[in-house]
């Protein structure tokens, strides 16, 4: 199956289908709702119901076709042949999907963003067998190997409790879609009251509408934050809302937290490397589980990952897609 990196995004010319397009095209599949993937709308957008709801909020309306995980649907290629597509959980965030394309006895799997370790707020990844794998490579270097999730979850709870006990407000930095609701859930499961920045709160409401999370989450109210753990998107860390809080401990929760430079980058006091992306080991495990011989890498450290996979006998190369900031 041919795969092309076009200015408009990742393109499957045989099907005239775009995956996560960057500009308006005729038809596309959206893997998930993050801004570096859900960048532009298409005439027809195929996505999971969750991603449809998020894309509608973020990008506006178009002809959306929702597909539940694991329920195949058909698309007709320009040649008249029919391809079978299946959206599978990618374990990244709520609604995130890998796209399995079966066409003329060939199977292509596009990961979107993927992680294999567990999350409390999204379905675990289901890896399908494929001939061709197009995988993200955000953490495609061997320096990126994350500690066990249970340890990181325990640290999130510990840091929140330690801060609250010493009269500080624990301020967690996490994206509205994914990390924010995940942190909220981890803290709530430990009976720590959370208060959410507006953007995170709106997203948690979307999660709840899909039955993920059942507890009340309080939206941020100025002057009422004492005794709560506050969750804000990383972009809000310089917001006056945070400057108004004198005694705080800023905790960045991201895969980049493995690096000392993240103290400065996030203005954080504490770094916890809980990631929504596969690390080096998981990327290799993913490739092995698909059984794919041909691997195309994109996003992040695409070149080194392709180099390493080639050295292991794969037909691997890096795809150069233009993309925005990573989420």
């Amino acid at each position: 199956m041919r795969v092309e990196a076009r200015p408009e995004g990742l393109h499957l010319p045989d099907l005239d289908l775009f995956l996560d397009p960057a500009a308006r095209v005729t038809r596309a599949v959206l893997s998930h709702g993050h801004a570096d993937h859900a960048r532009a709308l298409a005439g027809t957008v195929h996505a999971t119901p969750e991603t449809v709801a998020i894309a509608r909020l973020r990008l506006g309306d178009t002809s959306y076709v929702p597909h539940a995980y694991g329920e195949p649907f058909e698309l007709t290629a320009p040649s008249g042949t029919v391809a079978r597509l299946t959206l599978l959980p990618s374990g990244h965030v709520l609604g995130s999907a890998m796209v399995l394309v079966e066409h003329r006895d060939e199977r292509l799997l596009y990961t979107g963003d993927v992680k294999l370790h567990r999350s409390r707020t999204c379905a675990p990844a289901e890896v399908a067998a494929a001939d061709v794998l197009v995988t993200e490579a955000t953490f495609g270097l061997p320096v990126f190997r994350f500690p066990p999730v249970v340890d990181l979850e325990a640290r999130i709870v510990d840091e929140a409790r330690t801060a609250l006990d010493s009269g500080e407000i624990p301020v967690f930095l996490g994206y509205a879609l994914g990390k924010g609701p995940e942190i909220a859930r981890i803290l709530q499961d430990a009976d720590i009251p959370v208060m959410l920045h507006g953007a995170v709160h709106r997203m948690v409401e979307v999660y709840r509408s899909f039955g993920v999370g059942d507890r009340d989450a309080t939206a941020y109210e100025r002057g009422k934050v004492d005794g709560y753990a506050l969750i804000v998107p990383p972009s809000a860390r310089t917001h006056p809302m945070l400057r108004a809080i004198r005694q705080k401990r800023v905790i960045a929760v991201t895969g980049w937290a493995l690096l000392d430079a993240s103290y400065d980058r996030y203005g954080a006091d504490v770094l916890i490397p809980l990631s929504d992306h596969a690390d080096w080991d998981e990327l290799h495990e993913l490739v092995a589980r698909t059984g794919a011989r041909r691997v195309l890498t994109t996003h992040g450290f695409a070149e080194p990952l392709a180099h390493a996979l080639s050295a292991q006998g794969h037909d691997a190369s890096a795809l150069h897609l233009l993309h925005g900031d990573e989420e």
């Binding site: 270097l141 061997p142 000392d260 103290y263």
Partner: protein
């Protein structure tokens, strides 16, 4: 070393300096007497004391070879990509070592010993063997800090001052005592140990480690000063030097070192000065000026420049550009630190010194008032000097600080409006930006003549902006680097002097040119002319100074003889 690594991690997570001091102050008491000096030195980001001249001399390539052997399961290209991506050798080693079931946690003393062996090894192969023996077995956090020590990039945000504060806090002693002891012996490790045992007073002056230089504020013409205690000296056109002298005594030969403002040892470039200073009868740390000097008069800075940046100079160059040392202050006298004494007393010490031939004492005059000062200032300019240094006789010497003691009085330099003719990419933070510019003035025939090259002066935003403009104006690219550009961007440049130069078509070169600002308001037709440059050159007493002027220029030095 594991505790040391934990401390470093905590320091990196802390921005508040007061908290950093607390962290170090509570760590130091946990160390025994053997570890305390070593761990304290490590906290300075260097394996050895400041006064210790040893270096590890381990390069990137050697560490990469060790890494390739350590992480043999990883492709060398992937290793290189990892080092590039992380940008910190120690951190990358540490990240890669996680989960490799290697957990050697040597003590601070053992790591210190290993680094001493590394410094002592002369051959590259021996160094490689020591690295290969030391690093692979280490626990990840210990490995990270050890490699960081080797490459000298601890990145814990701990200045010498904060470390001194922590030592003072840990031992409950006044900070000033700690600072003074550090200044004397040049080893925070020794100071930490002495502080613990209440023995700071025993810190002896260690010569041959550079102390900070006193810095000067700026005097504005007309300002009133307490004239009765102000000494004026002409601001000499040489390079600042700190001389350390240990005279010969039975059983030992004399030793002399000269340090530059950047605290580099420049003794090798000025052997005749070292030889003369060695004839001084007492041990000394003195502040002064290295001047190119021949037949009783100072030579222009351009001549002195030929002596700089050399480890050794040959007899011929010494004959061509002879140098001398002009003393103007004393920091230590006969083994005693005298920086706290007022200048009046320090100056009296210098004046009591029998000076060997070829070592001079800077002439000092006492201006009566601001009018008198103007006369001295004019005379200094006439002598070809930059201006005056005004020093308060009652003030101490404050190493590394802009104290109240010294003020400089310089003539305002003229600036030139020039047009950019060529650009090339900068380095480091400015890699990829066209930040290095060559610029020209206009000759009488209308042609443009290059006169200098500047690297700094514009803000980051301006550089981004001009980079775009230069890309647009590019006409030819030479060697993939240097771009000839259409002459449209006008700059105002300041400089420290004008020299004759064969390098530029104008026949002149600006000394230390820097961009003052962009002049989008100024048409290219109105940039400065070569004629104006010749005028300024004559005014600023350049290389071709007439003999009369050069003779008087040496007045300050010969006055003292």
């Amino acid at each position: 070393m594991k505790d040391f690594a934990a401390l470093c991690a905590a320091l990196r997570a802390t921005r508040a300096t007061s908290r950093k001091v607390e962290l170090v102050a509570s760590y130091l008491p946990t160390l025994d007497d053997a570890s305390l000096p070593i761990a304290t030195r490590f906290l300075t980001g260097r394996p050895f004391a400041a006064r210790d001249e040893r270096t590890l001399s381990v390069g990137w390539a050697s560490l990469l070879r060790t890494a390739t052997a350590m992480f043999a399961d990883l492709d060398p290209e992937i290793l290189r990509a990892s080092f590039r991506a992380i940008g910190d050798m120690g951190e990358t080693f540490g990240l890669l070592q996680r989960g490799r079931a290697r957990a050697a946690t040597p003590s601070v003393v053992e790591v210190g010993d290993a680094l001493e062996r590394l410094a002592a090894a002369r051959k590259a192969a021996d160094k490689q063997r020591l690295l290969d023996g030391l690093l692979p077995g280490l626990d990840p956090s210990v490995l990270k800090e050890t490699v960081k020590l080797i490459v000298g990039a601890q990145r814990i945000g701990l200045s010498a001052l904060l470390l001194e504060q922590a030592i003072a806090r840990a031992s409950d002693l006044p900070l000033d005592d700690v600072k003074r002891a550090t200044l004397l012996c040049g080893d925070l490790g020794e100071v930490a140990l002495r502080a613990r045992h209440g023995a700071l007073g025993g810190a002896a002056l260690a010569l041959f480690h550079p102390l900070g230089f006193q810095l000067a504020g700026t005097y504005t013409a007309g300002d009133a000063l307490p004239w009765e205690r102000i000494l004026a000296e002409e601001k000499l056109d040489g390079i600042r030097g700190q001389a350390h002298v240990a005279p010969a005594y039975p059983g030992a030969t004399a030793r002399v070192a000269l340090f530059s403002r950047s605290l580099d040892d420049v003794t090798g470039a000025f052997p005749e000065i070292a030889e003369r200073l060695a004839r001084l009868p007492i041990s000394l740390v003195a502040d002064g000026e290295i001047l190119a000097f021949a037949a009783g008069r100072a030579l222009p800075f351009a001549r002195l420049q030929r002596r700089l940046g050399r480890k050794k100079v040959d007899e011929e160059l010494i004959r061509e550009v002879p140098s001398t040392f002009v003393l103007y202050d004393v920091l230590a006298w006969n083994g005693v630190l005298v920086i706290d004494r007022p200048l009046r007393e320090r100056r009296a010490l210098l004046e009591s010194l029998p000076l060997p031939d070829g070592v001079l004492l800077s002439a000092a005059t006492r201006p009566r008032d601001a009018d008198d000062l103007e006369k001295l200032f004019e005379r200094a300019l006439a002598n070809g000097n930059e201006g005056l240094m005004l020093k308060d006789e009652l003030q101490p010497y404050t190493p590394g600080k802009r104290g109240r003691g010294w003020l400089k009085y310089k003539k305002a330099r003229a600036t030139l409006d020039v047009v950019v003719t060529a650009v090339e990419p900068g380095h480091g933070r400015r890699a990829g930006l066209l930040s290095d510019v060559t610029f020209a003035v206009r000759a009488a025939d209308g042609s443009l003549r290059n006169i200098g090259k500047a690297y700094s002066g514009l803000s980051d935003t301006e550089i981004l902006e001009t980079t775009k403009t230069f890309r647009r104006l590019t006409e030819t690219i030479y060697g993939g680097r240097v771009r000839a550009v259409r002459p449209e961007v006008v700059l105002e440049v300041a400089f420290d002097g004008i020299q004759r130069s064969a390098r530029h078509k104008s026949g002149f070169a600006l000394r230390f040119p820097r961009i003052v600002r962009l002049r989008p308001d100024k048409p290219v037709a109105e940039i400065d002319t070569l004629e104006r440059v010749v005028e300024l050159y004559a005014l600023l007493a350049g290389d071709d100074t007439p003999p009369e002027a050069a003779a008087t220029r040496a007045a300050d030095a010969s006055d003292a003889e």
